[in-house]
Symmetry: C4
Subunit: 387 residues, 4 copies
Amino acid sequence: MAEIEIGLGKSGRRAYGFDDIAIVPSRRTRDPEDVDISWEIDAFRFELPMMASAMDGVVSPATAIEIGRLGGLAVLNLEGLWTRYEDPDAVYAEIAQLPSDKATARMQEIYAEPIKPSLITERIREIKAAGVVAAASVTPQRTEEFIGAILKGELDILVIQGTVVSAEHVSKTQEPLNLKRFIRELEIPVIVGGTASYQATLHLMRTGAVGVLVGVGPGHACTTRAVLGLGVPQATAIADAAAARMRHLDETGVYVHVIADGGMSKGGDIAKAIAVGADAVMIGSPLAAAYEAPGRGFHWGMATFHPTLPRGTRVRTEQRGSLQEILVGPARENDGRLNLFGALRTSMATCGYESIKEFQKAEVMVAPALQTEGKSLQREQHVGQGR
Amino acid sequence: MAEIEIGLGKSGRRAYGFDDIAIVPSRRTRDPEDVDISWEIDAFRFELPMMASAMDGVVSPATAIEIGRLGGLAVLNLEGLWTRYEDPDAVYAEIAQLPSDKATARMQEIYAEPIKPSLITERIREIKAAGVVAAASVTPQRTEEFIGAILKGELDILVIQGTVVSAEHVSKTQEPLNLKRFIRELEIPVIVGGTASYQATLHLMRTGAVGVLVGVGPGHACTTRAVLGLGVPQATAIADAAAARMRHLDETGVYVHVIADGGMSKGGDIAKAIAVGADAVMIGSPLAAAYEAPGRGFHWGMATFHPTLPRGTRVRTEQRGSLQEILVGPARENDGRLNLFGALRTSMATCGYESIKEFQKAEVMVAPALQTEGKSLQREQHVGQGR
Amino acid sequence: MAEIEIGLGKSGRRAYGFDDIAIVPSRRTRDPEDVDISWEIDAFRFELPMMASAMDGVVSPATAIEIGRLGGLAVLNLEGLWTRYEDPDAVYAEIAQLPSDKATARMQEIYAEPIKPSLITERIREIKAAGVVAAASVTPQRTEEFIGAILKGELDILVIQGTVVSAEHVSKTQEPLNLKRFIRELEIPVIVGGTASYQATLHLMRTGAVGVLVGVGPGHACTTRAVLGLGVPQATAIADAAAARMRHLDETGVYVHVIADGGMSKGGDIAKAIAVGADAVMIGSPLAAAYEAPGRGFHWGMATFHPTLPRGTRVRTEQRGSLQEILVGPARENDGRLNLFGALRTSMATCGYESIKEFQKAEVMVAPALQTEGKSLQREQHVGQGR
Amino acid sequence: MAEIEIGLGKSGRRAYGFDDIAIVPSRRTRDPEDVDISWEIDAFRFELPMMASAMDGVVSPATAIEIGRLGGLAVLNLEGLWTRYEDPDAVYAEIAQLPSDKATARMQEIYAEPIKPSLITERIREIKAAGVVAAASVTPQRTEEFIGAILKGELDILVIQGTVVSAEHVSKTQEPLNLKRFIRELEIPVIVGGTASYQATLHLMRTGAVGVLVGVGPGHACTTRAVLGLGVPQATAIADAAAARMRHLDETGVYVHVIADGGMSKGGDIAKAIAVGADAVMIGSPLAAAYEAPGRGFHWGMATFHPTLPRGTRVRTEQRGSLQEILVGPARENDGRLNLFGALRTSMATCGYESIKEFQKAEVMVAPALQTEGKSLQREQHVGQGR
């Protein structure tokens, strides 16, 4: 592992993001129809290798059902609006109309409303009633508090998620969640994260989780990096996690899924995430652009309203297509934001790969995306004649 | 070949684009008049080492003839407007007047019009009647369907082109074009592409093609990279293809031409393409800026109207000179977009090289073009006193 | 130490700034409340590992007192407005109203007013009377001239500061300050800087100073780099200084503090400064944004009004919070500019570190912050669910 | 010499520009008054290590005299307006009033006026009559045509300059200037350039020139790079030329001066040029900003009006100070564009160097100047307290 000397006595590895790399076609090409992009985790099989982020602006019971029908897996946030309010519709409407300078303060109030365990159970049942796989998320801090209501709803997959979740949380004042014991004893599969290094991922895999969410400050200019200074660009984080997956498989015979979480906005980013080793991707903002998204043209993360150190903000987004158009097309625009998984399929076909497992071994190059404007236009015109 | 570690267990080569490199003058200089930039491929000789991209906004029978007279080789798109419409003039006029938000949908309809084999034959004859070399392109998927009409027109050079074309296309549902058998049996020379790696290029060269088009997502921020995640920056792609050319020559004694396709907007880009190993260049958008271009100030690629995953868009371009001014000058502006091949000649002379073959061995440096604004102005003024 | 060849016979090390690196979470996480960020230097203990820069727009006796009460250490500029004017209030008011094109000339006049030693003594006493630790700065050139008045005020910590201060100043025309003798003989602790290399820092440490200020042209595009061509990006400068600290400790048993000075505007920058080896940070402009800051929405450095070679300028800044909100929160915005030390605490907790000394050994990666805009938005939304 | 692989079989060195490097302070500092920045070449001594570029917008006989009085050496363009027109005043006035879209065409006409040898003699005499050293430039193509008139005027230093000048120009149609024989036989010293590589510089040094101008497309985004694809970033070009100087000195005992030509807009750039090995600098656009500059707020290079391939353009510049203020101050602004040589002196003093020869060995770091905006402001404020 090549270390770069930052100064005398301080070295670090060079890390790479999606914008730093590109996939290289192999010597074969393939028909897109022949490509298999389906995903199997635990006892579940999905047409699409994707999860929808547990963001209130993206996943409601209704969109969870629609995403499930389209072949994906949506994660409902069990500490968000849907478990704090019986009918959050009016709340969403108010949020979408808040002026920018008042949004943070008012949303802090909105999220001060207590979580009702009964609503947890109810929301899960609502999703399951539609016949799709139900997944939902809690933070490690409140997992034990809510697990009763969760199991009562007969959730299919539990997601335990924080900015960073480790297998060894240390606290002087309270007994932290013992992830290993908790997961081993739980009867439903658990996906856990975020994580971003080989060692931390390996320890999370050893808790018995069926999947880990990889991504801490993945975008180069992301909020976590500005506020906290933390972050690992995603291409490196995913490749490291894939190496931990191999080590864990070698040690235990158990294959734990690596789910790339964050930093992907276009079809090309999703293809790159797989090409450096991910089994599936978790996406949020691309889905917030759906007409059906509950955020009504806005989305936000849960750290946005941290009482003393908010990170993130309410972000306006253009509503540009239906969930179906965004996930599986057809695309009527050409910027890579629609038909994300048709793009993955075409990318794999164009490069000659047949399955996700094969595509994880694709050749990639380090090829930074910084670029003069002229070049970008130049290319538009002769992409032509493709399949 | 130096590999960079992207993460544990995933490495990739560093790739370079035109903006990343610069040509270094040798210890000699030369008179521009003494420099030979002519190009010979198969039985044909051209004053200019260039092909015009098979884009509907660039190449019509009329501009093909004009480009041929100026010393270049234009490629007519046989799956575009000229073979779908008897008289595409009204169609071009309509396209140029479409509002942006309606353009994609309407152009999808326009391109839904079937291709008429009789028009294929007719368009080729129209170009040949003017006494210039006739070249035209088809996609691999439809090559066998149209080859009869093409041969009937007595085409001189056939171009088989897609986003990525490989010598080994795999399909479960249909028998793909066997490029090797097809090209060997065909009586006219074939140029094939795009391709972007050593192995894929080598296999394409073994099909018997006289030239390969090198370029897959060459621009750093190009559409193919955003939508599909694919792409190899052009300087690296061309150098790799040139290495494949040498290997193929060594194995077979046959010299297959490397034609750099895409990513070039200025004279300096063309010089760099040659300096890293290209025999000739294929350019599109620089020619779309010609007064004679059929696109009337617009250009677009064929993937722009893919029914489910469009890539590229209708691009507006400034009409800035005649085809003659763009190709061989004289330039009346100084931004490198006019007199492209006068610039190539001057570049070669200033560096002391006499022919394309010599210039392919020019010294280059890795010298990224990112730069503060002040420097750029600073330089304007003392380029002076040059020859 | 890897040297890069710039040209034949000229090599240099690659240096890194805060934007070039990111901190990597360890396999542990921790409760923020358990993290200790306090700082001890000489006989003093501070709740926050920070000093406020000796800038007239930031530190007045009043803000020095407030910063001291909040747990930090402010440095009053003894060659600025507070020692030239009995009541600088009107002067500040005038500066805040100067039109841009007149500001430099008028401020040159304002700073031509002689320094009154009696005011030096008085200002120090004013701060001490409030019960906080009093620190103040002089340039090496005038240290001996003012030391009497300084000692008379019973200053706690003396800061001797210039753009670059060395242990070996050479002059043909006047006897320079002998830092080593001066500091050894002085009864109060001295902090000295700026410095930016291993050797220069080591020599400064040998003068007997209790701390060195590390930072010369730390920002990549800073004024010192533009005007003088000097500068060492901060991550490298701090790591080098930390190596000098270790060498000096090994040689003498004395631990001299490394205080990162400059180039930090957000919480993440402060975390990175510690993570590459700093004991504490000196910040200026982030505090100029406080409602209490004497600059009334402006700040400037002392070199701004150099009579023949001004560097820096009067900078307008947005007043965005109280000193308390900026230093320890709560933050009501999410851009990393409020609750700077709450952010440090959360960063350390998220990465699993308990004390500044531990955090100095955190793993970092080289991960440049250059980034397309889309990514930045993408990340906003799923920072969620953090602690 | 480390080579980077661009592609299979094509490698190149990594080159660096001024923006890529920064000077590192040594462990000493020094009084600016003690620093010696004077320059001696051939029998001449100058207070400032600088030449003014032979640009019509910068050097007239009057400004040549003023620059000489201030301690520098201006070069008059003998193929420009002053030798084509008896009284170019009206021509300058017209140029300054041309609308942008007409400027190129009209200036092509203006420069079509023949050069009068008698004016060459007269202009040189005009400068010499003022008692300053007279330098003037011709292109290699016309050197022999004008040398009689030049010698008649008793020029002190002849500059033979083109975009690239080599010791081995090859022509099939005319006998090129044999630089080696010409220079050896000439009774006055000759400076020659541009050049940009070790070998080319070494060969130019062997012609007997007393100095070489180093710079071909030095700015990363400069015109020569866009139009011709040529260019070597200046830090690398200068260091390579300095290595050639050492080799030539070793072989012959003759020290040939390396004069960095182009790419410098601020004091810091000049300091860097020296720090990587230059003996002096040639600057143009910074002087075009002088009130006395003949260009009246405009400047342009001679290649700007090349009849078929213009490079460069008429550039508007802000008139920001007198020649004296720009060269030796005092500066009333703080952007590094005034008091350029006071800045060089301060840079050397701050780093602890006493003479140009010493400063050529200064430590530099590779520290790219790309930077987020926030950092740049941050630094403004605490440059303070410098000497």
